[in-house]
């Protein structure tokens, strides 16, 4: 049985964000296409396409999610957020047709979490996005669970390659459950093992010695 003492701060659930979670910080670093609805004086250097001193009203640029979320206000129009390509109508039909063929790692890798975060911005398409996210997850979950429960003692990199970060976590926990069960069946659950952390440290030390 695997014992671990390092538990990272888990990411927030659905539209919530966890302040200290590294995953959430990286997720909110994803860029969104936005259009400014008012001028930002003296910040022209943020927009690489122009040399002006200010960001003028109506500029189209890409801002990270955290900044868009903080600046966005319902009452006062500061900026309007456009949907990234994979959440638009065209891609949604693809996802609805067969969620299993899409490479979510390439689209995301935070496809679900970013999609949930998009619900913060008032858009008429929000209900459709939420529905697509849910259906995509349901459609792919069966395969993810199946492969995580049955791939024992084999290279899983091909299976994991196309998964979203959320699905990867699920896959990994399925795998550790499978491995624990197998070791229990073989009567090895009570065997004391070296800490993986210590072993990994040793591996790295070895790698540093042999360039």
């Amino acid at each position: 049985m695997e014992t671990q003492s390092y538990f990272p701060v888990p990411p927030g659930v659905a539209v919530e964000e966890n302040f200290l979670s590294l995953d959430d910080i990286l997720l909110t670093h994803e860029r969104l296409p936005v259009r400014t609805e008012c001028a930002f004086p003296r910040l022209g250097f943020l927009d690489k396409s122009t040399d002006t001193q200010d960001i003028s009203e109506g500029t189209k640029m890409e801002l990270p999610l955290w900044l868009s979320k903080a600046l966005y206000e319902r009452k006062r129009r500061v900026l309007s957020v456009e949907l990234p390509k994979v959440y638009r109508e065209g891609w949604r039909t693809v996802f609805n047709a067969d969620p299993n063929v899409v490479d979510l790692h390439k689209m995301g890798p935070y496809y679900y979490s970013l999609g949930s975060q998009l619900l913060h911005f008032d858009s008429p398409e929000n209900p459709d996005i939420a529905q697509t996210l849910l259906q995509t997850f349901i459609g792919r979950f069966r395969r993810t669970m199946d492969s995580s429960q049955n791939a024992y003692n084999e290279d899983t990199s091909a299976l994991v390659q196309r998964l979203d970060s959320l699905e990867k976590v699920l896959f990994r926990s399925g795998q550790s459950g499978l491995n624990d069960f197998q070791s229990w069946e073989k009567g090895r659950a009570a065997q004391l093992t070296a800490s993986t952390l210590v072993l990994n440290y040793r591996k790295r030390k070895l790698a540093e010695v042999q360039p």
Partner: protein, 196 residues
């Protein structure tokens, strides 16, 4: 764009998701703090100007910079906190004495924090079991027997057990030892538990 530096720090930790502790990035952290200082000063001067000359059009820019400040703050806190979680885990995985290559990756404040964590854990363990004390880092898996068969994976020198006997832990030698004595050494990868 602002806040790119701090993301590098976060990525550094995220890449080592197994809980290893990367070297304390003092240089990166200083650059982030410098960026924050610059943001703060720009904001101060803009606020002054907006107030004295009633230029309300500056407000969106001030807000943007303020958001960047908050973001930098969040990321730095998350960076330091996640490192503390890793350092805490080291106490359970490596025992109370850290290997030199790990200690080398910690800053002075982290070393201080680690020794204080060690102290509070020790005093908590002393207070358990009706004043007798209980080592809660032992027996993470429920023990089935008092003695276990172990094999040495590397030379570890002499080792004294309860009854005063001294045995030599030589590479590839096999011993029958009290479980509680060797559990720590197994975790550290010196001994291997042999199950027949």
């Amino acid at each position: 764009m602002f806040c790119e530096k701090v993301i590098e720090l976060i990525r550094e930790l995220h890449r080592m998701s197994d809980g290893q502790l990367p070297a304390f990035n003092e240089d990166g952290l200083r650059q982030v703090l410098q960026e924050m200082e610059a943001l703060y000063e720009q904001n101060q001067s803009d606020v002054q100007e907006a107030k004295s000359e009633a230029r309300t059009e500056l407000i969106p820019s001030i807000k943007l910079r303020h958001c960047c400040l908050l973001r930098n703050q969040r990321c730095v806190i998350a960076y330091l906190y996640d490192r503390l979680l890793r350092i805490r885990a080291l106490r359970w995985e490596c025992g109370s004495v850290l290997p030199a290559n790990v200690r080398f990756h910690m800053c002075a404040e982290e070393l201080q924090w680690f020794s204080q964590y060690k102290k509070s854990l020790a005093s908590f363990m002393r207070s358990l079991g009706g004043g007798e004390g209980l080592d809660i880092t032992q027996d993470i898996k429920p023990p089935k027997s008092l003695y276990i068969e172990v094999r040495c994976l590397k030379d570890h020198g002499e080792f004294e057990i309860d009854d005063g006997t001294v045995i030599l832990l030589k590479k590839n030698s096999q011993h029958f030892l009290p479980r509680w004595k060797c559990e720590q050494l197994i975790r550290q990868g010196v001994l291997e538990h042999v199950v027949s």
